[in-house]
Symmetry: D2
Subunit: 442 residues, 4 copies
């Protein structure tokens, strides 16, 4: 994945001198967990070649700082005003993260001023009419059983950095936990830069949110497991629809603007998928090796087909649009409807009766509550964000890497997208399962 | 519901003289169930007025023949070739019905020739290339755990009566169980008429299938309970989406071409619905009492709204289309997309930011496996269909009425649709729950 | 079911003179639901014999008063202090009923004093230390998504009638809605009698709760559908366990102290059950026609078996216990463990290896949230309880009969239990599905 | 976890000379996945200390061989007779593994002789009366939708090594895939040793199965995610039961004989747990710091408590038993029933009314079908087992480590158990969530 050693150094606000109120140990063997040291690090890259002696010759791609509670913290809990905000589209697990953040601040550090910022960064803009939401363990008690975010969410606002920092100053916020995707994290970095410029002591910690799993430097993003779990019965339904009508075709579109992880993993979990179409693997419709010919072959052979489509797939086939959403993301045409129409036209021309059913379950998937996997994950992400902030770390995000919770500098994290490696094992195993051609481009 | 006494007499093929192979009793008190008598009947109408003496003064709207195993049957099981076919769109419970029919023929009557007709009536047409599927208990062992129908389904073919009866004759089929909706049942009646005209001894029994619950003379159709159960989490998701964005509007379209039962019941089950729009209750968009004004009021008051829409609602607002599907049903424009566009345009004009999310879960709902309620129901419907056929009943369908399984002459059953009574208790309770105006027409 | 005409007359507190605040209509055809008249009644018995002319000759078993909002009510909403309590074991749907009661009082009648009585009748005892819970629509907003009851529940207290009525007087409660089973309803009747004796104007309305479905005069009790739905995957798991080990036996115990409805319906919904054992159908273990011989036959034939057991089944086999629970119900020995031990001993003696897995999912089942069927049902039961109380009805319970919501005098309702009729169609269809002998008694 | 460098060298049957029938690439950049090289290895240990220059100073704990398809294979697919067997208790995902193994052999390598060995190693014993099950893609098509294993499973047989190898010889099996736990894998190693001794060319590949997640050298075992997901609603139900009765106590026992991973993870996923009791953390019942005092404190403070118990917890409290199961595992007394009785006795003595509900959902959990996470995992484990076997690897198991699929020598894999590290981050986070004392031993 990496070609040069990246700088994984975590910025911090100053020396952490205050003893942590959390009772832990310094030494192993006493049956009590130890404080985490800043010097404990995790290798970024685990792949290596066996040397002649069979021992490891690791490629040095740098190391990551281990997350967790420190023995000394930077902020006096009695002086902390913590804020948390959730940005962008909703995603399973947001409420779990909010809950974990609030509970860790409250129970572990004794912080009593915790504010929920409504509707993402917009809630920090001057003209915002939405009231700040005071948070405590009672308010967040059961929220994880619901999908979405009790704070509400929105795109946009993330470019009005100066105004946001004004608000933080005015509210005496000294910790900001921002939960969001690529755009949100860029905003968080810029907010951190503005804070530094003004000489303020405000920690900005990101919790990476992307249902598409398209952020690098995080082994899997929260909500992703739930998204796949939600997509599976939809694909099963599409398969039922396809098998139960004459030359039935089930076409399902799932999320994945730039990366096809949901589609790929769903294809592995529910092996009824015959064609998995993802942004990373452009394809042609027409021509000898085009998708339509392969689809026709499948229909003639087996009488039904299931197509699973990431929303960003096949963009090469669509005329570009000039529209952008509030976060600045390019708005795509709906490839699902486009493909459905093209398939129908093609088989009409070929004089083959087909019955095509198009399903777009996106909002159903993203509004689901977190499953147990994501519940555990979010509980731990949220707590680690609090530990990082209290220790005076800033402009960092909490990530899981090689199954360890680590800190990643936000700047590094947003420097590249996570894509499916067409030569990697995930895609290899998807092709093995779907038995589709490895390329459908002419 | 009724204004004149209907003729509920069930046609039959002749006298049932053969002793049933099913061991049952004639007398109560011996701990063993009794054979059902043709003369046991169920009142159609249970509503009445108390007389001056407090006793019942029933309105005589006729009585229905009780379904169940008879002591004497018409067909010699050793001579029976039974066929079953499933027509129209898929619906939860189809496989359960198939399974129950096969098991009852096989285990209870000892019938060994049972054929599955593929893809509905089309599978009986001369040019059909789909092979007949021999059925036995092993083949149907686990099929109820899957949605859809192992026989496949299609619309159409139901008007080629003569050809279908030719096929039945050629195949020596003497019992045909047809599972389907209004069109299928009309076809079944006509097949029965043609059989009578030719002097054949073929029993045609219908099992009514309508996920919309829009057939009269059946208290609730199979698959309907599952459909509502499937719609509930979708509406919950729409509510999450609506609450979590600024002036969020969740718009969900469910099945219901002519009757809004799924929408109405879902509104009772999941009380987040603010507007339940059904075909029976036309509404205006514009004007003082129009839907858009009421929606705006809700948005200004509460900041979010959930709209649940039956697909046949608001047809008065749409320009008619000339298209019909293969069953001859008028094709509607998609009211969901139409409404979404109109809402967006309206709020844009009003300069109010709204975030609207449109969800169409139809295929997800109808491809689900039957829930336990429908599993029980279908198991019993299927068995009763077999009992009716073996007793020589014909041109009848199996229905549940006042919680009893009964026979209904198909001709009566297709004589009117089941609609939500706007003055009845169901709609009254929906309005109570949604607190929407009882009329949004000007 | 009935042998003599029962008196279904509903007691009331006096003439209802106050116009209802609910806007409804008097006449059909205006598109608005009508007020319900006391004189509108529902036939109790729908079974009949065809006369020589084919018309109905109904057996007059009496008629039931239709439930619903009346045009004139007895209580001035401004003067109402309503109380609600939930008694006995928990059951899916309790929170739905509470919610519906609160919302109907609040939104439909404008009642603003609604009190939740904690832990059933115990919360009304003098020495109760549990605070009364004030209820409004905000408090009950989402409670239906959780199992159990926000009011808590307990057995007992129901015999301290005088003390309870003292409390109601002291609190100025004029409406008491009691949700509970047989014992609770007897208590409610007695409370009503005491109120009458004291000349008070307090309405006592019961909402019948029995997960076992063992109350007569209610076609199916709330929570029952959910219980069956929850039991189905447990039986499926038992079947998996049984099939996957050598001579595997899955033994599942479900609720049903006196009536085996959950076991019977689950056997219809999940046809893997080979032996359905219910209280109504005593069986022997030993002997030629005993259960163990039949089980051995099944094991030798097929190599696995699934047994579904109602907790009250086989009580004839157990030595009686003298213990009673707080509601006064006889405590049974655990037939599940008893049967498991006897099966193991028997096969050991027969030198046949068996692998038996015993599953008791009771608490998992009864703590589940209501499914959509029960959600709808509870929403409507709760609203009808409020309509009855506001109209001045008392000592009545809300029931569904022949698919209509009706009032039943509590005294009649508790006069007999609901049992599975061994000669009826439900048990007939269970035997057909399990293919077990209709009797396993010698 | 490790203190000395382990020998991770994988045994093999000889040089792999036959070109693989799988079309892959040798070079990156061509859009096609590459064959995996034996020399590509994964670091075992990723934790490190930052050197003075911030760079990694990895602790060399050895490296693991990457799994995946090789360019040259050892067996000629046309000569392969592959066998697969599943041993021990059932676990979610077994059918998924079987299916993946069969499909990979069949579709990727063209192997046509694949045999299912019934009931684990017992199916290979001389006296076994269970027929071998021929497997192909049709037979395994839908099996993953069901829990359990279509091959059946049993303990025992794993010590009759010589007899098993005799059977493999007689059947001309040259690949044996054994899916099972610690005992099964020890058996597989011994089978491999006997094969070596006899100079046979039979590859034995293990797929590690432990629902308890108690195998070392595998980051998480298949079925474990599903087990936690299944346990969560049970704990939610216990919480409902506890909250809804006076001083309610919900006591849930989950699997975990030697390691408490299911209990710990469930406590993180469902934060209603107040006491998580695991084998790794012995506790006292009595005494000042004993469990009962802490439970009493919780009950007096909050009126309810939820206890989640691994089945192996508190064994120090129980008198030992001499019994062992067929796999040779010590049979424990049921700590759940023991604890329930002790809690009741304690509160009776303390004269505090408590209502305790004990739930043991083990068979429900382990018979569930795999969730999407485990479905993906098993699909990939199974395929990798086939790739390993075809390449001539033997006495190895397929594991996931640092998110990569790797080969582990079985001998190393069974050399130690996986336990929760009481000083590690998992247990730290559990304590943070439950807020129970880190020790309840005096």
């Amino acid at each position: 994945m990496s070609s040069a050693v990246l700088d994984f150094t975590i910025p911090n606000l100053g020396e952490a001198k205050i003893p942590s109120p959390i009772l832990m140990s310094h030494s192993s063997g006493d049956g009590m967990a130890d404080y985490v040291l800043d010097s404990t690090r995790i290798l970024f890259n685990v792949a290596t070649k066996a040397g002649s002696d069979g021992h490891s010759v690791p490629v040095d791609d740098g190391t990551l700082e281990l997350a967790g509670p420190r023995e000394r913290i930077y902020f006096n809990p009695a002086h902390v005003h913590a804020a948390i905000t959730t940005c962008g589209g909703i995603c399973p697990g947001l409420n779990n993260v909010i809950r974990a953040v609030v509970r860790c601040f409250w129970y572990r550090y004794g912080v009593r001023r915790i504010s929920g910022i409504p509707y993402g960064y917009q809630g920090l803009l001057e003209e915002s009419s939405f009231p700040i939401i005071p948070l405590d363990p009672d308010i967040v008690d059961d929220i994880q059983e619901k999908g979405g975010t009790i704070l509400g969410s929105s795109r946009g606002g993330g470019d009005q950095i100066s105004e946001i920092v004004d608000s933080l100053e005015r509210m005496n916020v000294n910790i900001l936990v921002a939960v969001g995707g690529d755009g949100t994290l860029r905003g968080a970095w810029d907010i951190g830069e503005e804070i530094k410029k003004r000489g303020l002591k405000i920690s900005v910690i990101g919790v990476p949110k992307t249902i598409d799993n398209d952020l690098s430097f995080i082994q899997s993003s929260f909500g992703f497991d739930t998204a796949v779990a939600q997509a599976v019965p939809v694909v099963r339904g599409a398969h039922i629809e396809a098998r139960n009508s004459i030359n039935g075709i089930g076409l399902v579109k799932v999320m994945g603007r730039e990366s096809g992880f949901i589609a790929a993993n769903t294809s592995l979990a529910q092996s009824d998928v015959n064609f998995c179409l993802i942004p990373e693997n452009p394809f042609d419709l027409e021509g000898e090796n085009g998708f339509l010919v392969h689809l026709k072959k499948r229909i003639l052979d087996r009488g039904h087909a299931v197509i699973l489509l990431a929303e960003g797939a096949g963009q090469n086939l669509l005329p570009p649009t000039a529209e952008r959403d509030a976060s600045g993301n390019v708005k795509f045409q709906d490839i699902g409807i486009f493909l459905k129409d093209r398939i129908q036209a093609y088989f009409k021309k070929e004089r083959i009766e087909v019955n095509i059913k198009y399903i777009d379950p996106s909002y159903i998937i993203r509004s689901a509550p977190a499953d147990s996997f994501d519940s555990i994950y979010c509980a731990r992400l949220g707590a680690h964000a609090v530990h990082a902030a209290m220790a005076g770390k800033t402009q960092a995000l909490i990530s899981q890497w090689n199954n360890k919770y680590v800190h990643i500098p936000i700047k590094v994290a947003v420097s590249r997208r996570n894509h499916i490696d067409l030569e990697g094992t995930l895609w290899r195993d998807v092709l093995e399962n779907t038995r589709q051609p490895y390329s459908m481009a002419n």
